[in-house]
């Protein structure tokens, strides 16, 4: 089938950037979206043009490295599917697709479709962990975890940190990402001792990175390739209020 691509090309952070049109006359329906970009890049290289830079690695939908906006939707039109797992059979002959990088102040563009997501790492470094030094753990079965809690924790832990939630949010809020970690650890007995410290530190870091506030638009949940639920944000807010109520180190005024 024939696909027309309009791709955001930007040489580096200081370049202004522009959309460029490319025609792909022979796209196989069995190709993944990224394989289509591979084919485009092979053609560009043959013609002596700079190939399109895009992040990708595992191509199994789990590393969280890939992703771009396809016609204004993060990771494209298929629900709960990363760009690498999106196959061309979901498009039709003659489709025109507009590809843009994640748009958010906290995710500056590096080149073409590649953005800098290190803000996410800094949020985890602020408190997204359980502080257990290697070797100090009791037997795995010493602390029981109710199956339902383990399942809900796992639902939240499935977050791949791709950033689609931020890119899709009109406020560029990182709430779904932050809350997924709060819920993952906060639903487990092992995560209780640091529950309050964790939520205040992570929320403070997200604010510092200039992610926006959550206004319950729900766009993040709609595009999340791992089906992370909005209810995690409610849980985060509850923990956050609880932490402040308890008078532990609160969020510093910014």
């Amino acid at each position: 089938m024939r696909i027309t691509l309009h791709i955001w090309r930007q040489r580096n952070a200081s370049d202004k950037g522009r959309m460029v049109r490319y025609e792909l006359p022979n796209v196989s329906e069995h190709m993944s979206f990224l394989e289509m970009l591979d084919v485009l890049n092979e053609e560009l290289i043959t013609k002596g043009e700079d190939p399109v830079a895009f992040d990708h690695d595992c191509r199994e939908g789990i590393c969280g490295m890939c992703g771009c906006m396809v016609n204004g939707v993060a990771h494209g039109p298929l629900p709960e599917t990363t760009l690498c797992q999106l196959h061309m059979r979901h498009f039709k002959d003659g489709d025109e697709l507009y590809l843009e990088p994640w748009r958010a102040k906290a995710f500056p563009v590096v080149k073409d479709l590649v953005v800098d997501r290190t803000a996410f790492d800094r949020i985890i470094a602020a408190g997204g962990f359980i502080s257990v030094a290697t070797g100090s753990a009791p037997d795995g079965n010493a602390v029981l975890v109710p199956k339902d809690n383990a399942e809900r924790s796992m639902d939240a832990a499935a977050c791949i940190g791709c950033g689609a939630c931020v890119a899709m949010c009109p406020n560029a809020s990182a709430s779904l990402f932050v809350s997924a970690k709060i819920a993952h650890l906060g639903l487990l007995p092992q995560g209780q001792p640091e529950r309050e410290r964790r939520v205040t530190a992570m929320v403070a870091q997200a604010n510092q990175e200039i992610f926006g506030s959550c206004t319950n638009m729900g766009e993040c949940e709609a595009v999340c390739p791992k089906g992370i639920k909005l209810e995690n944000i409610a849980l985060m807010n509850r923990h956050f209020l609880g932490a402040n109520w308890a008078g532990r180190e609160g969020v510093e005024a910014d």
Partner: protein, 637 residues
């Protein structure tokens, strides 16, 4: 060169304990005076960087991805083994040790494997405490399942995303150390050379992938946790970025490369659909617990699976191996799948696939149970192929998945270059000629959390480290060599893309050094590879410059290394005139078609010394002795 494995002797149960006691310790107050470089942030690299940070060492950590959370350990699906015997089904540390030595076809060190089995217990405890959401019973206790090749339920899992959850545990521990300043993280940085000063590993040369800046980093020891080289085949289940550059360039600086021909072909991958195929996707072999593998009895049977009656199906693994059935080890399952396809009984458009059928399990357990166990795998299959495994069987075919070979290390996980440690898939140590399912995660975390943080202290405490500046001549020279490679790649200005060259190499290796190998095929490959390599350097086309984000340039450097590594793989495979584990030489098989080992002549680890590109490498042999598990022919009948 004498290869001293430094393996302890005496009763195997206490070897590690006694060895650890004899290791020198670094005074807690002095730990911050030592700098350790860790390259790679998968299970091995990530866990070791975190643990070294906790201990108080000054850690510099590097990964080529944008975040340490992306490493390919994240894609491991099935689970992690531990001899907890929570199910009272007869498991023990000794049994896990026994199974691993036997599964590796008697080509691993007993001492290492026993230590691995013993540490497996601590790993689960550690990960649970970190908040890894392992599967639970309704009672709240940890759930287990049996997994490829094991007759006990010792595999812990987190849905089909065990690797992801374990890696996130290590990543979070690492981020905690980054937050405290103990670890300095360098994402989007690729190691391109090892700095060796006075015979010791003292640093690395990296290229900043965003700016192209080539830089030296000096340390007192260097740890490589950079993964395997399965991408040498071009098509593999590895992530696109997985590469052998760090270990290969260390090899070129003197580190021995052991058993390069021991590569694992995974039986349950989604088959190739076209020329544009960029990678192969693995389906966890846990599917083999509830899926039955079959092909039509008749050759060229093009009917739909549902139209083939029971009597005309050949459940070939259950037929040939009644006691293990669909759970035979990976190499056995892969070879048998290839054999039935070679007979013309393969299924699907290409005839290069066999069925993996969940029908009977769905009938027995109900769709909900199957969905709970494999939901995400089934969804993944459905997304990629557009077919529904609840309705029709999945099609699977073997693909390159894991490499047991890697840099040679001693019991302390140190290579023959003092101060250079190699952990996880990047080393050769624990899996012999074949790795059992759910053992890679175990090894990565055992090395990273529990072994290396102990052994590295002994090296640091036992040696003096004269101060070295980044302007040291050895560092300068390494930087210049790295810059020269970049210039040569950019300057070739040929006509073929990097991927085209890589694909060509991959096809050749898959044919001649893949699932079945022959002396003739290997000689053919060895005659082709040098020509291909020369053509690559002359004809490769890399656009852009070295001073920017240039993904073609990154790939080109990695593929250049694969061209050299491929030759060593074939040479090692040709030299090893026996079949063992993942290395199947068609000339050496039993009348039943099983791998025929030659213990009298080949019971050794082959460690190769680099002598320049195009020059014959030198083979050093580390003899393997078996005091506990006596070599026998593996039988899964």
């Amino acid at each position: 060169m004498e290869l001293d494995s430094k393996c302890p002797t005496g009763p195997i149960e206490t070897r590690w304990e006694r060895h650890r006691f004899n290791l020198k310790l670094v005074n807690p107050a002095n730990k911050r005076k030592y700098t350790v470089i860790v390259v790679g942030t998968g299970l091995a690299g990530g866990s070791t960087a975190a643990t070294l940070g906790e201990l108080g060492y000054n850690v510099e950590c590097f990964c080529f991805q944008d975040s340490p959370r992306r490493a390919h350990s994240i894609a491991a699906q099935g689970g992690i083994n531990a001899a907890k015997n929570y199910h009272n089904d007869g498991d023990s540390v000794y049994r896990l040790f026994y199974d691993t030595v036997k599964g590796g076809d008697f080509r691993a060190r007993e001492s290492n494997v026993y230590r691995l089995a013993a540490i497996s217990l601590d790993i689960i405890d550690q990960c649970v405490a970190q908040g890894v959401p392992f599967a639970r019973e309704y009672s709240g206790y940890l759930d287990n399942r049996s997994f490829g090749g094991a007759q006990v339920s010792r595999t812990f899992y987190a849905r089909g995303q065990t690797g992801q959850q374990l890696l996130l545990g290590a990543y979070q521990a690492l981020e905690r150390q980054i937050g405290t300043g103990m670890v300095k993280m360098h994402p989007r940085s690729e190691m391109l050379d090892l700095i060796v000063i006075d015979g010791r590993a003292r640093g690395i040369v990296t290229r900043d992938l965003l700016t192209g800046k080539v830089e030296s980093h000096i340390a007192d020891a260097v740890v490589l946790g950079t993964g395997g080289y399965g991408n040498v085949f071009y098509l593999s289940t590895n992530a696109k970025g997985c590469n052998a550059t760090a270990i290969w360039r260390a090899h070129k600086r003197g580190a021995l490369f052991a058993n390069p021909c021991f590569t694992q072909i995974h039986p349950t991958c989604i088959p190739v659909s076209g020329e544009y195929q960029s990678k192969l996707t693995l389906m966890s072999e846990s599917l083999r617990n509830d899926g039955r593998i079959w092909v039509p009895l008749k050759k060229g049977d093009k009917r739909k699976a549902s139209e083939i009656p029971e009597a005309e199906r050949d459940y070939f693994l259950e037929r040939k191996y009644p006691s293990f059935g669909n759970l035979v080890p990976r190499d056995v399952a892969s070879r048998n799948a290839k054999a039935v396809c070679d007979e013309g009984r393969g299924v699907g458009e290409t005839g290069l696939a066999v069925y993996l059928d969940l029908r009977d399990s769905i009938a027995r357990l109900g769709k909900n149970v199957i969905k709970e166990r494999y939901g995400n795998l089934i969804d993944m299959y459905n997304r990629i192929t557009g077919e529904d495994p609840y309705q029709a069987p999945m099609r699977i075919f073997p693909a390159s998945h894991y490499t047991m070979g890697g840099l040679w290390v001693d019991y302390n996980l140190m290579s023959n270059i003092p101060g250079l440690y190699v952990i996880g898939e990047a080393n050769f140590s624990d899996h012999g000629a074949n790795r059992l399912g759910a053992s890679a995660l175990m090894q990565g975390l055992a090395d990273g959390y529990f072994v290396l943080p102990n052994t590295i202290g002994d090296y640091l405490a036992s040696n003096k480290f004269p101060k070295v500046e980044a302007s040291n001549p050895a560092a300068r020279q390494a930087e210049q060599e790295v810059a020269a490679i970049t210039q040569r790649l950019l300057g070739a200005k040929g006509t073929r893309s990097v991927d085209a060259c890589h694909r060509e190499l991959g096809k050749l290796l898959w044919e001649d050094c893949g699932m079945g190998r022959t002396a003739q095929g290997l000689k053919h490959a060895l005659s082709q590879i040098p020509e291909m390599r020369e053509r690559f350097w002359k004809d490769v086309k890399v656009l852009g410059t070295g001073e920017e984000l240039n993904q073609s340039l990154e790939k080109a450097g990695r593929v250049a290394d694969f061209f050299e590594l491929a030759e060593l793989m074939c040479l090692d495979a040709l030299e090893r005139n026996e079949s063992c584990g993942g290395h199947f030489r068609e000339e050496y098989q039993t009348p039943e078609g099983e791998a025929a080992r030659d213990d009298e002549h080949y019971s050794y680890a082959a460690a190769w010394e680099f002598r320049g590109v195009g020059n014959a490498p030198v083979l050093h042999k580390e003899p393997l002795t078996f005091d506990y598990v006596h070599p026998s022919q593996r039988s899964y009948k």
